[in-house]
């Protein structure tokens, strides 16, 4: 599904990622943990195609093609989805119309018929139930006035509607209350299938109690220093990152 080899990325001339290797197979869940500023969001952004994130070396292979040649909207149509660490508020752009346009663009690209208003609404209702999203959120502008946790929930709601092949969740658990974390994790789990891969960026082991990862990676100073099974997250929780860095040095 996703194969990242020796990826180097610079932002504003500063090298942030310094040789990342990552191999995610269909259906797998990979967790990426690591200290603040280690480059986790940079990795998420470069996968989504953000301007100004320059791949200086290495490659990103997605479903057998070079992802870096695609524009962000093309990646989205190819099934890449980024749930943002800090979802932006977009006053004046309606949540539900954005979602409808997004879904229909993706469906059209896949050669599926566009959904009409009735079919779309039925899908939206179903997926709103999945993440327990209040209905009035739909008539509002994208994320405008949403609380921190509501914004995160909205990202997962979009994920549930758009059904991507590869979803990157950048700290979706941060800012969620205990109940909301449960709801969001259940929602994500119900979307897991053998064709869909997830990359979870998180600081907390707790999320991984709910969404069991196949692999856990430690990203530090732009490199993956250690990879392991879900027990690695428990060890990190108990011991912090210093021992990983010390072992890698």
């Amino acid at each position: 599904m996703l194969e990242i080899k020796n990826l180097h990325v610079a932002v504003d001339g500063k090298e942030i990622l310094k040789g990342v290797n990552l191999h995610v197979r269909p259906g797998e869940v990979h967790a990426i943990m690591g200290p603040n500023g280690s480059g986790k969001s940079t990795l998420a952004n470069v996968l989504a195609g953000r301007d100004g994130y320059v791949v200086t070396k290495g490659e990103i292979n997605y479903l057998g093609r070079d992802l870096t040649t695609l524009e962000p909207e093309e990646r989205a149509r190819e099934g890449v989805f980024l749930a943002f660490q800090y979802p932006v508020e977009i006053p004046g752009v309606n949540n539900i119309y954005l979602l409808k346009a997004a879904l229909n663009a993706i469906r059209k690209h896949r050669g599926q018929p566009e959904l009409d208003a009735v079919e779309f609404l039925a899908l939206v209702r179903d997926r709103m139930g999945l993440v327990k999203m209040p209905e009035d959120f739909m008539s509002r502008s994208v994320n405008e006035g949403f609380s921190g946790g509501e914004k995160k929930r909205n990202e997962i709601f979009q994920l549930a509607v758009l059904e991507p092949r590869l979803a990157i969740l950048d700290e979706t658990d941060s800012g969620l209350d205990i109940d909301a974390l449960r709801v969001v994790a259940d929602g994500v789990n119900s979307l897991r299938n053998p064709e869909r891969s997830l990359v979870l960026v998180t600081h907390y082991q707790r999320l991984l109690d709910y969404i069991i990862p196949d692999q856990v990676h430690v990203l530090s100073d732009g490199r993956i220093l250690k990879s392991g099974g879900k027990e690695l997250a428990l060890e990190l929780e108990a011991r912090g990152y210093d021992w990983v860095r010390a072992a890698a040095a």
Binding site: P72, E73, A76, G92, V93, A101, A105
Partner: protein
């Protein structure tokens, strides 16, 4: 110090026969003519005109356009009569009888061209005309009074609520030579009266013409006026529009000013909150492209306690366009417990576009709430990226964000056909308009 050029400008003016022509107005006219001759046109040295150079107007001689026919398609496109409004149509400054009868208005309500005022109606006119617009403010106001042509007289008696919108449509057709009009309107609302008035200015793109319009408004105690000014003049037009309002106790003005057309245009609103509890809401949008110059000057005087004003103007600029926003708020010393809020936001879409924004607050009372904020920005990269990660193509995402920016001041429009027209006019200028329309329907 009468400038020969000013004298020549006046002598060559061939606007329509001055209306109102009643003898009572003659002294005002003469005084205004003198004021104009003394002052001349504003120059870049005048603080209020330092960003707007009116020499192109001052150096031209404007003749009459009355012989030139105005295309029916032009007026039909700008008309709100099909949308149910009671409309008065002025072609090249002259009142033109509408083809279809306008919907009937409540008894006692007067909506008519000034040129048709009878003796009794002239009395109402005489009591108000020239009282609210100050000819000493600048040359164009004096010029309007000196040369005032036809316009509407709107009189709503006490306690009458007019639910049918009144539309005043001014259409100009440019001839081979520049033409000019000085429309003059008067809107009087009695105690607790309510009305919606739309002023729309339009014209042909193929030649130069000048519209120098003044509308005076008096709102009685508790009166409510929703006022729309749609400036959609032709591409080569010069437009000056002044709205001068005086408000009595607890009256409420909601003004929407949209500046879309013209080569050089200025929208001016002067509001006097002259009695306790008077409220004014001023919404505005200017969309300028190519080499357009759009100027917005508003002044709100809080003269008495507990008066409130809320102003929100937005501008979208492309090409080499230039815009000006100057919002002056004066809180007089007796105006305790007043509340004045002002926001001006600008979206610059090209490196060559320019905007000068200037809030001006003068506060002489100590117990008041005043706030203002002005922003000049480009499209937000974070928003663009977010939309693109949701499969929206870059060009559509851009248009969508531009539209969403303008929508903030289009959305509060109460009369739906105007909202539709604005959406169409703003969307129509954007690439991928059809796709965006899907979003906003």
């Amino acid at each position: 110090m009468s400038d020969p050029a000013v004298h020549e400008f006046l002598e060559s003016w061939r606007g329509v026969t001055p209306v109102p022509g009643a003898p009572w107005f003659a002294p005002q006219r003469a005084a205004a003519r003198q004021a104009f001759q003394a002052r001349g046109f504003p120059t870049l040295h005048d603080e209020d005109w330092k960003y707007t150079d009116v020499r192109p107007i001052a150096s031209r001689r404007f003749g009459s356009g009355t012989e030139t026919g105005v295309d029916a398609g032009l007026t039909a496109a700008a008309s709100f009569s099909a949308a149910g409004a009671h409309e008065l149509l002025f072609l090249n400054g002259q009142f033109a009888t509408a083809a279809d009868p306008a919907p009937a208005l409540p008894a006692g309500v007067i909506v008519m061209p000034m040129s048709r005022a009878d003796a009794r109606q002239n009395e109402s006119l005489a009591a108000h005309l020239g009282r609210y617009a100050d000819i000493n403010k600048h040359g164009f106001l004096a010029l309007n009074t000196a040369l005032a042509g036809d316009g509407a007289l709107i009189f709503i008696p006490d306690n009458v609520e007019v639910t049918i919108p009144v539309s005043l449509l001014f259409a100009s057709a440019a001839g081979p030579q520049p033409t000019g009009t000085c429309p003059r309107n008067l809107i009087i609302l009695g105690r607790n009266a309510a009305a919606t008035v739309i002023e729309c200015y339009t014209g042909t793109d193929d030649g130069e013409y000048l519209t120098n319009a003044v509308t005076e408004v008096r709102l009685g105690a508790g009166a409510r006026l929703e006022h729309y000014r749609l400036q959609q003049e032709g591409k080569r037009a010069y437009h000056l529009g002044n709205l001068s309002v005086q408000q009595d106790q607890d009256s409420r003005l909601v003004s929407h000013a949209f500046a879309l057309g013209g080569a050089l245009a200025r929208n001016e609103i002067d509001v006097r909150l002259a009695a306790r509890g008077a409220q004014a809401v001023l919404n505005g949008l200017y969309v300028a492209g190519e080499r357009q110059h759009l100027d917005n000057h508003t002044r709100i005087d809080h003269e008495q306690p507990h008066t409130t004003s809320a102003e929100h103007y937005r501008g979208v600029l492309t090409g080499r366009a230039r815009a000006v926003f100057n919002g002056k708020v004066v809180v007089h010393k007796d105006a305790q417990k007043s509340d004045a809020r002002q926001v001006n936001a600008n979206l610059l879409l090209s490196d060559d576009a320019e905007v000068d924004t200037k809030p001006e607050l003068e506060i002489y009372a100590d117990d008041v709430k005043c706030s203002h904020g002005a922003t000049i920005g480009r499209l937000d990269d974070n928003m663009l990226f977010y939309l693109r990660t949701r499969a929206i193509p870059a060009a559509v995402a851009r248009s969508l964000l531009i539209y969403a920016f303008a929508e903030e001041v289009i959305q509060p429009i109460g009369f739906a056909p105007i909202r539709a027209r604005l959406e169409q006019r703003v969307l129509g200028r954007l690439p991928d308009a059809e796709v965006i329309r899907e979003f906003v329907q």
